[in-house]
């Protein structure tokens, strides 16, 4: 495929796939949590996973950076590829994978350390900075990238837990991008935030799209509609429908999607 960088961004379907899942099944002990999910996630776009609670969208998201490995009873089969490399191959280093595929969680969870240390933690453990000044640069860049620099520049030594909820979540995003990931997974990043803080985070997601591939799980359909280019609807462990966000929210193909997004579910 040849693309001319000067031209307009290609339509979603034409972009190069960053993450490819095919025939993914997830089992929690005897429970079949994800059933034969296949999806392509294109580079530098925001894909939203929506669906009722317990539909498996978060579970599937956690398969993408192998966070499910931490749960003993969880078993993943199928094929998930990041840039054509099987991330569940035996020789894949989970630590390295998680550096490439960062994650932001539902509840803002800054470490009980200073703002600086929060952002610097990832680069430190991965040895990304050779010197203190280089690390300072990474921290500043990440905080600027997370649209938080102006608010915290003069108090980098104060604890990250002292920030407001929205700032904490942006700090978590800064922490994630400080490691220079290629993909950022967001598990309901705004569910604990007020609408203004949510708007800040959504604006940030929109900006981050230029550099990162973003997968976001959300309960808030309006949010999925606002921030994503593609939307995938999960129901009872199945990927029911995946399409351009505008299509999903105006004219979904599947009856179940229709029922869910119009509030007729159940």
């Amino acid at each position: 495929m040849t693309t001319n960088p000067a031209t307009e961004p290609a339509p979603a379907s034409a972009r190069r796939a960053k993450l490819t899942a095919s025939g993914v099944d997830v089992f929690y002990g005897p429970k079949h949590a994800i059933k034969k999910v296949s999806i392509d996630i294109a580079e530098r776009e925001v894909v939203a996973f929506i669906g009722p609670s317990g539909c498996g969208k978060s579970t599937f998201l956690r398969c993408l950076n192998r966070m499910n490995d931490t749960i003993a009873a969880c078993r993943v089969t199928g094929d998930i590829r990041l840039d054509r490399d099987d991330i569940y191959a035996p020789d894949v280093d989970v630590v390295q994978l998680r550096a490439r595929v960062g994650m932001v969680f539902q509840k803002p969870n800054p470490f009980p350390k200073s703002i600086y240390d929060n952002v610097a933690y990832g680069p430190r453990i991965h040895g990304l900075a050779g010197s203190k000044s280089e690390l300072d640069g990474i921290v500043e860049h990440a905080l600027k990238g997370a649209a938080l620099w102006k608010e915290v520049a003069d108090r980098l030594d104060s604890p990250g837990t002292g920030l407001s909820g929205g700032q904490q979540q942006r700090l978590c995003i800064a922490r994630a991008i400080a490691v220079s990931p290629e993909v950022i997974l967001m598990d309901e990043p705004c569910s604990a935030l007020d609408p203004i803080a949510t708007a800040h985070v959504e604006e940030l997601i929109d900006e981050l799209r230029a550099r990162y591939t973003i997968v976001i799980v959300t309960h808030n359909m309006q949010q999925a509609a606002r921030v994503s280019q593609r939307t995938a609807f999960f129901h009872l462990g199945e990927l029911v429908e995946e399409n351009d966000t505008s299509v999903i929210f105006t004219n979904p193909r599947d009856e179940r999607t229709q029922g869910y997004i119009t509030g007729r579910y159940g």
Partner: protein, 241 residues
């Protein structure tokens, strides 16, 4: 389709639908009253029709209000969104139809004070077709019947063709006798109004199609005879006749 989890949402949508159906009914009767006033040369009925337009405007205002409320409070999605947005469009189309009916009624008042022009049955026929289209499209709306809506949409061709032929007929009348010019001009406008009513009926059909199917009717609208581009040359008409 299953009902919403929030029952009052269903209730609001039902109310919007009711208002729109009622508005459709009023518009339908306005058009038929205007046509009756025209054919029977009944100025009282015509004036009553003109006065009746206020009701349509009021109903349209109600629909607007309900749509804005729904959009603000319920943030409708997918089929609900299409229903709400479609309702707004349909209401506006219906209001335009009622305006044309009012215009027809107004002109019929003027016409009733002039000597009747002997015109063929084309105008009443046009009125009938327009009324049928309006009726069918409203039926299609109530029944969410896409096929019927598409049929109405296709029928506009017939109305356009009738309009073109009536145009030629009236121009010929005017050329034959200069005294006919005033009533014939009124009749021309009336014909144009009926043609516009048909156009709005096709708009409603499109809106119904969008509401139900989720896609716009993509083919080009059928056009039968273009009165606006028709050229009627005095000599040629005489030769044709």
């Amino acid at each position: 389709m299953a009902s919403h989890i929030v029952k009052s949402y269903d209730e609001q949508l039902r109310k919007l639908n009711d208002t729109l159906v009622r508005m459709g009914g009023v518009v339908e009767s306005q058009i038929s009253a205007a046509m009756q006033a025209l054919t029977r040369r009944d100025p009282d009925l015509a004036l009553a029709t003109v006065a009746g337009d206020a009701r349509v405007d009021e109903l349209e205002r109600q629909v607007d209000e309900q749509v804005v409320t729904l959009l603000a409070l319920r943030q409708p999605m997918a089929s609900d969104l299409r229903l709400v947005v479609g309702s707004l469009r349909i209401a506006s189309d219906l209001e335009r139809m009622a305006d044309y009916a009012k215009n027809v009624a107004k002109r019929s008042v003027a016409l009733s004070q002039m000597t009747p022009v002997s015109i063929a049955a084309t105008l009443p026929r046009m009125g009938r077709v327009a009324q049928e289209m309006v009726k069918d499209v409203l039926d299609a709306y109530v029944a969410r019947d896409v096929d019927k809506a598409v049929a109405v949409w296709n029928r506009d061709e017939e109305l356009d063709a009738l309009h073109a032929s009536l145009f030629r007929e009236l121009v010929t009348h005017m050329m034959e006798d200069a005294r006919n010019i005033t009533p014939a001009t009124h009749l021309l406008f009336i014909a144009k109004n009926l043609e516009r009513i048909g156009d709005h009926a096709t708009n409603v059909a499109e809106a119904i199609h969008f509401q139900v199917v989720g896609r716009m009717l993509s083919d080009a609208r059928p056009k039968g005879g273009e009165a606006s581009v028709a050229v009627v040359v005095p000599g040629a008409t005489a030769g044709d006749a």
